[in-house]
């Protein structure tokens, strides 16, 4: 593996459009659910162990070389809220463009050809990780880091939180991030034998509910 490739893939400056999304944070701030550093941490921890785990499982499975189209279907069955499916596909399309330019490979071409509207982002992430010579665990790490990094950055902008404190929140989550990435990667190691049902399907009701509510807002700062 190349440690540098992982840094590039997980870098918030990787041009995959993630900066426009708050991962549910904008809705959580609007409802008062997130209002300070402690509630930011609770949000990130909850998102990590639900949507983050599920995304990491899909990304890790894709990085093993498992059928990416089957994983894209599995992502659909794990994403009941249509607003969140649209977001995942839009992000997937954007990441696809960046990844194909960065690590061109047949796997990305194949996935792009069969999902012209954009595959779910974690699946693209996993295929890109594989193209970059990364492992399933690397892909899971990139996915879990993104699942909390985006919302934390958004909270800084939405609440004018101290960016040092927001970064400290991410640092405090490091053990959880490692554990969730390892669990996702373990599940991905079984997918070839046991099929996609072995992958995590952890879900958070509020993320689904507020994801739909947020998509209906007339004016919003973030796309999700």
């Amino acid at each position: 593996m190349s440690r540098t490739a992982l840094l590039i893939l997980a870098d918030g400056r990787f041009p995959a459009g993630g900066h426009a999304h708050s991962g549910g944070m904008e809705a959580a701030v609007a409802s008062g659910g997130v209002h300070d550093t402690a509630s930011l941490e609770a949000f990130c921890r909850g998102r990590l162990h639900t949507a983050g785990l599920t995304a990491a499982g899909l990304a890790a499975a894709a990085a093993t070389g498992y059928d990416a189209l089957a994983l894209d279907d599995a992502a659909d069955t794990r994403t009941p809220a249509p607003a969140l499916r649209r977001v995942a596909r839009r992000l997937g399309r954007q990441m696809m463009r960046a990844a194909r330019a960065t690590w061109p490979c047949a796997g990305l071409d194949h996935l792009a050809r069969h999902r012209p509207q954009g595959p779910h982002q974690p699946v693209v992430l996993g295929v890109a990780a594989r193209a970059a010579g990364l492992t399933a665990l690397d892909a899971a790490h990139a996915a879990v880091y993104e699942s909390v990094g985006g919302p934390a950055t958004a909270a800084v902008r939405l609440l004018s939180l101290d960016p040092f404190e927001a970064t400290a929140v991410l640092a405090r989550l490091a053990d959880d991030l490692d554990a969730v990435a390892a669990a996702a990667s373990d599940a991905a190691g079984r997918v070839a034998v046991e099929g996609v049902t072995v992958l995590p399907a952890a879900s958070a009701p509020l993320l689904d509910i507020t994801g739909e509510q947020h998509a209906a807002w007339a004016v919003r700062l973030f796309a999700s």
């Binding site: 809220a81 509020l206 509910i209």
Partner: protein, 278 residues
């Protein structure tokens, strides 16, 4: 009553990763099967077991109805419970429970398993409308729902959970719901609430609400409302009704401060489904 030797399971119980159940636990597999005799739906198989006492209710129109009565306190720690419900081709079946299911710790802190299988054949209509499951302090329950639907069948499933009784933290409640239609997965979802699950009541998951639930509708002719249905507000409880990716299927998801408020939201969501059977 709980001392009675557990009868052998009539069908394989889904294995769980938690190892063997505590010997004190009850092992029970209740089954019921509805069939169409050419004129009406009948329920020729009604196999009560352990805590599940199955009783026929008076049919409502052409719909056969069965009620699950709690014959003993369950699930308790270490219990392995399974309920297998089949609505064969062309039947109309509704299954309810007489009272809330209360998960208690029991004599051991071992997890209890509660596996519900729902199967609907061609042109069948199956409704599973139990009372809420209440997770009480110290209990651990791993619940699975495995739903298998023929392409022309219809399903109405309601599932409600109350996390802790008044002023009580809940136990741990894990629920895996998998729904397949014509053999194809259409919904796969896993929720876990209660300590030590990280941030389960935080602003990304339940937002401090104690009641959560879902309503799933599947079947041909089901029309999605033109826009996603958004009900309620963050303080009083809220709910969305949305189409799944691989329809025709609609899912309402709600969180609320009380079970009564939760039920109102789910009822309201159901009322917003055009042409939903009532």
């Amino acid at each position: 009553m709980r001392d009675a030797a557990p009868p052998p399971a009539l069908h394989p119980v889904v294995p769980h990763a938690d190892g063997p159940a505590h010997p004190a636990g009850v092992r029970a597999a209740a089954r019921l099967r509805a069939t169409h005799n050419g004129r009406a739906t009948t329920v020729p198989l009604l196999h009560s077991d352990g805590p599940f006492h199955l009783r026929r209710l008076r049919p409502r129109g052409e719909r056969a109805r069965v009620c699950v009565l709690g014959a003993m306190s369950a699930p308790l720690g270490g219990d392995r419970l399974a309920l297998d419900i089949t609505a064969e081709a062309r039947t109309r079946l509704e299954v309810t429970t007489a009272a809330a299911t209360i998960a208690l710790r029991g004599p051991t802190a071992d997890p209890a398993t509660y596996d519900v299988r729902l199967t609907a054949g061609e042109d069948a209509s199956l409704r599973w409308l139990p009372q809420p499951l209440i997770s009480t302090r110290g209990s651990t329950v791993h619940q699975t729902y495995r739903v298998e639907l023929a392409g022309s069948s219809r399903l109405l499933l309601r599932e409600e959970q109350l996390l802790g009784r008044t002023a009580e933290p809940p136990g741990r409640l894990s629920t895996r719901l998998t729904v397949r239609r014509d053999g194809r997965p259409i919904l796969d979802q896993h929720t876990v609430y209660g300590a030590p699950t990280p941030a389960w009541d935080g602003p990304a998951v339940l937002g401090g609400h104690r009641a959560t639930g879902q309503l799933l509708l599947v079947g041909p002719g089901l029309e999605a409302p033109p826009e996603p249905v958004l009900l309620g507000d963050p303080a009083g409880g809220h709910c969305v009704l949305v189409p799944l990716a691989d329809g025709p299927a609609l899912l309402a998801t709600a969180v609320a401060p009380t079970p009564a408020r939760l039920r109102r939201l789910l009822d309201e969501a159901l009322a917003r489904v055009p042409g939903a059977e009532t």
